[in-house]
Subunit: 245 residues, 2 copies
């Protein structure tokens, strides 16, 4: 589809009929820095794909490297099986940041940061690349952990399907303000109006009850402070593992 | 598609090729009680649909009434416009509950509760029904709030598109346990193994800076205690508004 506005430079995604933000278009973001920040603060995405003309939307863990997104599933997954030849998918990430209570139903809203990314999903079949990616998925969440754990055996390696796609189109969308009511409603409507911040946080770790007694949280997991926001933890662990690429 | 197991009684969704949980099938849930609980604890879903053979996955607010799901968007939304005649969609809800660190990459996991629901999305065009639904969406989140706010004017009413679908297929999926490592790894691998609980919580409300001075949080919003889990708040406000239907 034709690019109709921003050129697809290294700094931004081109705006096309696919990724153009149409509803409340002023919330749209096409610069890669913003899109990447939203993606790299998340662990779970929702992937949309088509089987026999029917849409499916599956939550799964994922991560980004450059303009590529990766995720995996077992070989039994219907989605993975169907996408063996490479099929179009839409991968979406959403962070809910606040509930916004307005003075009319129309202006009720939520604050959020979201990204929709489109591409063609394909299998990662090269064993060396696949093994590297399996380690990097662990390290992306838990820095340096791949060196601590047992490496996959032949059966596990075979049972793990690694998928990837190059981002062909992407756009971000952000709302991050208080209410935006009609002027006459501020004084004319007696409805308490507030925003409730929403955050996703991690709690205190619960040790495995078969933990080897002298083991402690590894130093490389310093970002996992109980009470920390998960999006902040994931942003930090991402940079710890990949730097600023 | 043919029902191959559980009959589609009032108590459970039939299991078909569409909704059968294939990956880690023992996590599958088909009883309506469980599916409804997961849906009613959420505000944001991801809806998957097809435009010109390309999948889209859009985050949006939604709610459930019986076996029907509702959501809305502006008339400008490409999705809504395309679905005017009714098109197949998949609506997915995911609650992330914990990060699970195992002793091998293969057994790393997350705890979660998710639902995938399929149906044919259609417009709600009847003005009376649409107006009722607009109020109920507000009240489902903020009990009794529709009585406090200004009712939609003609322009807002026209600009609001209300969508709905009857659930044709649905399934839930839950993981809610600690690590499940290979027996020999518990003692053989020196990797600290823990779960980190993940919760989505609301903070203290931030008043609109043009708040009418004597207004306070309405009594019907008693569930909105700062620090409360959003899924718990939404479950309570759902029951406060709809009872146990």
């Amino acid at each position: 589809m034709a690019t109709i506005a921003t050129p697809n430079t290294a700094e931004a995604f081109g705006v096309s009929e696919v990724n153009k933000v149409k509803r409340v278009h002023e919330r749209g973001r096409y610069d890669k820095k913003t899109v990447y920040e939203i993606l790299d603060a998340a662990l779970v995405c929702h992937i949309s794909y088509i089987i026999d003309g029917r849409p499916f939307c599956t939550p799964t863990g994922f991560w980004r490297e450059g303009d590529h997104l990766y995720w995996h599933g077992s070989a039994a997954s219907r989605m993975i099986r169907k996408t063996k030849e490479g099929v179009p998918v839409c991968l979406t990430v959403t962070h809910l940041d606040a509930l916004v209570m307005a003075r009319s139903g129309f202006h009720h809203s939520v604050n959020y940061r979201s990204v929709m990314a489109w591409g063609n999903a394909h299998h990662i079949d090269d064993p060396e690349q696949k093994l590297k990616l399996m380690d990097r998925f662990i390290d992306r969440i838990y820095p340096e952990r791949s060196k601590l754990i047992r490496q996959p055996n032949a059966q596990e390696f075979k049972a793990t399907t690694m998928m990837g796609m190059e981002i062909e189109h992407a756009s971000g969308k952000i709302r991050d303000k208080h209410v935006s009511d009609e002027e006459e409603d501020y004084e004319g409507v007696r409805a308490w109006s507030s925003t409730y911040p929403v955050t996703q946080v991690i709690g205190a770790p619960i040790d495995c009850d078969r933990q080897i007694p002298d083991l402690k949280r590894p130093d490389a997991m310093v970002d996992f402070e109980p009470g920390a926001r998960l999006d902040h933890v994931l942003t930090k662990t991402y940079k710890r593992t990949f730097g600023d690429k």
